[in-house]
């Protein structure tokens, strides 16, 4: 990972202290976005066929951090298109030290909102979490609301940042949405990257952009494609059962109404700019206002500055608001259960702490209610792609040995083979067509 040398010191410290977890994505209707026949009744599959495909390895999984006392109901951070679980590292470090439990996830490869809801629910079941508080930024805010709408008993409160109620206006502005899934990786990345480097930034914002850019580099083509597909999903957030008083809307205050992207600022929009949509400038503000109208009783937390990623550029203020929100909705921190993080590890080798790693497949142990075990559970070595590949192979192997529930994945593996071939052919084809679109 070439980003490591540029990584900020506190991030290196974070990586050395907080284990990354990975679990396979159990509900993986992988190609449902392209072929709407996911329920072909193939009841059996060989255990090996799909797992050797290089592209299917290391992608279909939940990748997440989970830190802080397990007895506290967690704050779960959901990133936007360009984000990964890592972008919330400052929240994880700060809030966990104060006795809160923070989980941050990568949006996994799901291709529509139903899949998202089912997949996320299953994820929560697997990590043994029932009641949650969601902090969603941009696309993550949209997904948080959808989940709150469809699983009202689980979601106890929401914090939304740069979030929207519906994405349809974007779908219309994105004529080549249908081929997003087939566009090559470099092209998707280029759109994201050229966009977010836009404009003059204050130094701390520039740093946050750099960090996110380094994270975008780690995303696969399929990651980006699935998120884009989710973005143009026609789902709309319906009124929630959740009372407004359990919602906080945290936004950077708009400096000038209707001003173009650099300030109203969401990476998602940048993406559309990259996609040659015109006249988008009023959209974010309009959609933000729509959100405020939907939740008139929600608390409004304003950030003066912060750019696209205030949780990175203005962590103190964001953490303060998160903490106030959690306090407001009755989450009690347990500072007495905070494990003491050894000092002096900054930048050093994390290997000592990671030696306790029990099982490379990273299947989370069921340790709900046992706060002491946090640091010991399932640690992954840092920054080793080879390792994570190995891990993935191992965990995939483990899926194959699981029972009927996971047959869903196995059933699809045959499609996967065919689709892979089809897809590479199409990719070449589309790629040659792209200049016409762009």
């Amino acid at each position: 990972m070439k980003g490591v040398s540029l990584a900020p010191g506190d991030y290196i410290h974070f990586k050395s202290q907080v284990p990354l977890h990975k679990i396979p994505l159990l509900w993986s209707n992988y190609y449902v976005g392209f072929y709407e026949n996911s329920d072909h009744g193939i009841a059996e599959c060989c255990s090996g066929c799909a797992w050797n495909l290089p592209n299917s390895i290391g992608t279909k999984q939940w990748r997440y951090y989970d830190f802080g006392p397990k007895v506290v109901s967690p704050l779960i951070c959901l990133p936007g298109i360009a984000g990964t679980a890592d972008i919330y590292y400052k929240q994880i470090m700060s809030l966990s030290m104060k006795g809160y439990r923070v989980i941050s996830v990568d949006i996994p490869q799901v291709w529509n909102h139903q899949e998202w809801i089912q997949s996320f629910e299953k994820f929560l079941d697997v990590i043994n979490v029932h009641h949650i508080h969601l902090y969603g930024t941009s696309l993550g805010g949209f997904l948080a609301q959808l989940f709150a709408q469809h699983r009202p008993r689980r979601v106890k409160s929401l914090i939304l940042s740069n979030a929207f109620l519906e994405r349809r206006s974007f779908a219309a502005a994105m004529p080549w949405a249908p081929i997003v899934g087939w566009s090559p990786s470099f092209l998707l990345k280029r759109y994201v990257l050229t966009g977010i480097r836009d404009g003059p930034h204050e130094p701390f914002i520039a740093d946050s952009v750099d960090f996110v850019v380094s994270q975008v580099e780690t995303l696969s083509r399929d990651d980006l494609a699935s998120r884009l597909t989710l973005t143009v999903d026609t789902a709309t957030v319906e009124p929630l059962l959740l009372s407004d008083s359990f919602i906080t809307i945290m936004d950077e205050v708009e400096k000038t109404k209707g001003k173009a992207l650099s300030d109203s600022s969401i990476v998602d929009m940048v993406l559309y700019m990259g996609l040659k949509t015109n006249d988008y400038s009023a959209i974010p503000q309009q959609l933000k206002e729509q959100l405020s109208e939907r939740y008139p009783g929600a608390r409004r937390a304003y950030l003066k500055t912060g750019g696209d990623f205030p949780f990175l550029s203005r962590p103190d203020e964001v953490n303060l608001h998160l903490q106030l929100h959690l306090r407001q909705v009755g989450v009690e921190a347990r500072p007495d259960l905070v494990q003491s993080i050894p000092k002096g590890g900054t930048g050093g080798s994390p290997s000592k702490e990671n030696d306790k790693k029990k099982d490379p497949d990273d299947q989370p142990k069921d340790n709900g209610g046992n706060p002491e075990s946090t640091s010991e559970e399932s640690q992954l070595p840092l920054s080793s792609e080879i390792h994570s590949l190995d891990d993935q192979l191992l965990s995939d192997a483990k899926i194959c040995s699981m029972d009927h529930e996971d047959a869903i994945i196995l059933m699809q593996s045959q499609y996967t083979v065919v689709n892979r071939i089809l897809q590479s052919a199409c990719e070449l084809f589309i790629f040659s067509l792209l200049p016409i679109y762009v």
Partner: protein, 175 residues
């Protein structure tokens, strides 16, 4: 903002947002209220930083609340660490002037104004939150002061009008 009789202790710190119109511009005030009881340690000092104005409130009927203003003033400057502490805008409110028709009052207007004069001429308002006396005027002044301060501070985005402010409210009294 409406005054409610119901007393709710401020836990650490909390904020409310209020929208005002100043010179035809929409201004959003984010008003932080820290507890007089000084229990906001756990929240750190993030809400001090970036403040555009600090409102000190004391109870005209309680001498101790007036006496502690010096401490609060000093403490704020220490925590917020503004670029120029001497010009950072403060406003002083003498609250609860309605109580018992003013008979229980122990801090005179002159005394308060003298204190303000000794601190770079801080604007002073006598208010009653309960009777809604002077509250709007005070907040209008707060917003204007903060707005002016914000403009001076804005070195990165000159030319972009700022429609936003954050004020801080700290009370020597817990109301």
């Amino acid at each position: 903002m409406k005054f409610t009789q119901q007393y709710k202790a401020t836990i650490g710190a909390d904020f409310v947002t209020k929208e005002l119109q100043i010179d035809d511009r929409d201004v959003t005030l984010q008003i932080w209220d820290t507890a007089g009881q000084e229990r906001f340690q756990s929240l750190g000092v993030a809400f001090y930083r970036g403040a555009d104005c600090c409102v000190l409130v004391y109870d005209v009927n309680v001498m101790k609340s007036f006496d502690s203003l010096d401490n609060w003033h000093e403490e704020f400057l220490k925590q917020a660490n503004p670029t120029d502490p001497r010009t950072f805008p403060f406003i002083l409110l003498g609250n609860k002037i309605d109580v018992d028709g003013g008979n229980t009052r122990v801090v005179s207007e002159k005394k308060a104004k003298d204190w303000c004069a000794s601190k770079e001429n801080i604007p002073y308002f006598e208010t009653s939150a309960k009777e809604d006396i002077n509250v709007d005027a005070a907040f209008h002044c707060i917003a204007k002061t903060a707005l002016a301060n914000e403009r001076e501070q804005d070195i990165y985005f000159q030319g972009i009008p700022d429609a936003v402010n954050e004020t801080e409210q700290r009370g020597g009294c817990a109301c």
